[in-house]
């Protein structure tokens, strides 16, 4: 396994009862890359992310993260994970939430920077349960990146975030990637997909197609990324 890959998933399968959530998925993400995981609801995106951060164990295949075979507790210090639902403590303030996640990662010095990044520094004393959905999402992002992780796993990070802020989020992601942070972002918003360096299309637990946005367009035979995806997804399910 090359050290230059932040994440390498090899032939991974995972079932929940009779449901095959992932079926022989192989995927490698080099350091500093923003990798977009695309696919419809229930395709297996979240399962894949949970396997990468060690919350689940694969039934077959291997997951290596930052040079370590997962699940491995030591690596978790270098991973930031933003869950799909804004997982926060509703009775704590924004700053208290971020400070808590900083403390369990031993990185209290990153609190102010994280709050500024998500533009919640002025609202840091607000109690989370009084915040709008978008603000919670931002607070959740701050909690995921407060310890400056080498690998950031973002499960649909921009759900409920307004378009203006979404642009700012992606600008921050781009900067973090430039500084060497690897990111795996799941989404089903196509204009976000276009901002990723490479994309993987997942459907029914399988990786249907992988490549840069331009390559995906060519494969799908359309200049429109959404149409290209629909074409790829349809082709695979028909066969």
């Amino acid at each position: 396994m090359s050290e230059s890959f932040a994440v390498s998933v090899e032939e991974v399968s995972k079932s929940f009862g009779r449901l095959k959530a992932l079926d022989g998925v192989t995927l490698r993400v080099p350091k500093g890359e923003i990798y977009g995981l695309l696919g419809p609801n229930g395709a297996g995106k979240t399962t894949l992310i949970r396997l990468i951060c060690g919350l689940l164990e694969a039934q077959s295949g291997t997951v290596n993260v930052l040079g370590e075979r997962m699940p491995q507790v030591g690596v978790l210090r270098h991973i930031g994970y933003m869950t799909q639902q804004a997982a926060l403590y509703p009775a704590l303030s924004v700053e208290e939430n971020v400070r808590f996640f900083a403390a369990i990662n031993g990185a209290e010095d990153g609190v102010k920077e994280a709050l500024q990044l998500v533009q919640l520094y002025d609202r840091r004393s607000s109690v989370v349960q009084t915040l709008s959905g978008g603000m919670r999402q931002r607070c959740s992002l701050a909690c995921a990146l407060v310890h400056r992780p080498e690998l950031l796993l973002l499960d649909e990070p921009t759900v409920g975030v307004d378009p203006q802020l979404r642009v700012q989020f992606w600008e921050s992601f781009r900067q973090m990637a430039a500084n060497g942070t690897t990111m795996i972002v799941s989404s089903h918003v196509m204009d976000e997909a276009d901002r990723c360096k490479r994309l993987g299309l997942i459907q029914y637990g399988r990786l249907l197609a992988e490549g840069t946005p331009a390559e995906i367009r060519t494969m799908g035979g359309s200049q429109n990324l959404e149409e290209a995806f629909l074409a790829l997804a349809g082709r695979k399910t028909d066969s």
Binding site: L55, L56, P90
Partner: protein, 366 residues
């Protein structure tokens, strides 16, 4: 009012229950289990207290009183020697013993005579059947003393408690621990469930935190609250309610704290088996009510039907309640083997619950 709309609400409600089998089971099974348990406890209990009779009378009257006591349905009498009496009260084999003095017949002839009754005393009202049995025995005997009316008096001596000892003193000692156990359990199970349902537990599991650290962190956090609550409950019980206390306050507090820690870990463990706060609250009738009925808080374990005594013997609250009463009512200290056992068993359950709570975290997320 639209019947159609009302029917929609009713139907929606019943549809929800159809998928929640556990709630249905609770609704229809729990009342039978709890009432059945209560019925078995009350009807099946042996009610006649064990009473020792030490007949030291050199005359004949003592034997008549003793025989009458042996035939009394209110008590279960055995002959003992007066010297063994206190020891038998302490080890719990007797509820009371009666000493018929050596000069009993001789003094009765003078018209007034006293009987000594030694009562264990930790349970209020337990001397009532003894006194009743004695009164019947003496009335029967009085008619046998020819020619004069004899005035029998009872000299009652309490090993524990004393004459001012009342029901609150008895129940209070157990309830101090029980209240803390119950409230801490409910708060922990709901908070830990929130940790699971709001997704933060998943986040914690994807952080460098170890499972043991999560459980111990939780335990310490709730212990801080539980300790403050314990101090408050104890101060109120002792200073305002003036519940009888013979023991060391620090020991009571220690037992309360152990119960609180046990409750925290039981809550973490059981939260795994609940998917909603609704289901979590259902653990109260399942995990708490039978323990309250069987731990001796209300009905002494020694009077339970034998099969239920076996069950009582494996419940942590049984030991906690017994320990609290030993300390507060009997003034037990750490040199008492019964208190050592109670503390050790409760501590053992704490360790068991910590292990179970920690193991639970992996199972839920793996």
């Amino acid at each position: 009012m639209s019947g159609h709309r009302i029917a929609a609400i009713t139907r929606r409600l019943l549809q929800g229950f159809r998928r929640d089998r556990r709630t249905l089971a609770l609704l229809f099974v729990a009342p039978i289990v709890i009432l059945g348990l209560l019925g078995y406890l009350m009807r099946g209990s042996s009610s006649a207290p064990a009473v020792g009779i030490a007949n030291e009378d050199t005359g004949q009257l003592g034997a008549i009183v003793a025989s009458s006591l042996h035939h009394s349905p209110r008590i279960s009498a055995t002959d003992i020697s007066a010297a063994d009496g206190d020891a038998k009260l302490r080890d719990g084999s007797l509820t009371a013993y009666i000493v018929i003095p050596a000069d009993f017949s001789a003094t009765a002839a003078t018209g007034s005579v006293a009987l000594e009754v030694h009562v264990e005393g930790s349970q209020p009202g337990e001397d009532a059947p003894v006194v009743q049995a004695l009164q019947q025995a003496t009335i029967a005997t009085a008619t046998l003393v020819a020619g004069r009316s004899v005035n029998f008096s009872l000299k009652i001596d309490h090993l524990y408690g004393g004459p001012n000892y009342d029901t609150l003193d008895y129940f209070g000692a157990a309830f101090i621990g029980l209240i803390v156990f119950f409230l801490v359990f409910v708060i922990t199970i709901v908070s830990f469930l929130n940790e699971r349902t709001q997704g933060t537990l998943e986040r914690l599991m994807a952080s460098p935190l170890r499972r043991g650290e999560i459980v111990v962190g939780y335990m310490l956090g709730f212990t801080v609250l539980a300790v403050i609550q314990s101090v408050e409950v104890l101060a109120f019980a002792l200073a305002v309610l003036r519940i009888h206390n013979q023991g060391n306050v620090l020991l009571i507090f220690g037992m309360e704290a152990l119960m609180a820690i046990a409750a925290v870990n039981l809550g973490i463990f059981l939260s795994m088996f609940a998917r909603s706060e609704f289901q979590a609250v259902q653990f109260i009738p399942l995990a708490i009510v039978p323990q309250v009925l069987l731990s001796g808080v209300i009905f002494p374990v020694s009077t339970e039907p034998t099969a239920l005594q076996w069950l009582s013997d494996v419940l942590p609250l049984t030991y906690a309640v017994n320990g609290m009463r030993d300390i507060m009512v009997k003034g037990a200290d750490l040199s008492w083997s019964s208190l050592q056992l109670d503390l050790a068993v409760v501590a053992g359950f704490v360790i068991l619950f910590i292990a179970a709570g920690t193991a639970t975290l992996r199972r839920r997320l793996a």
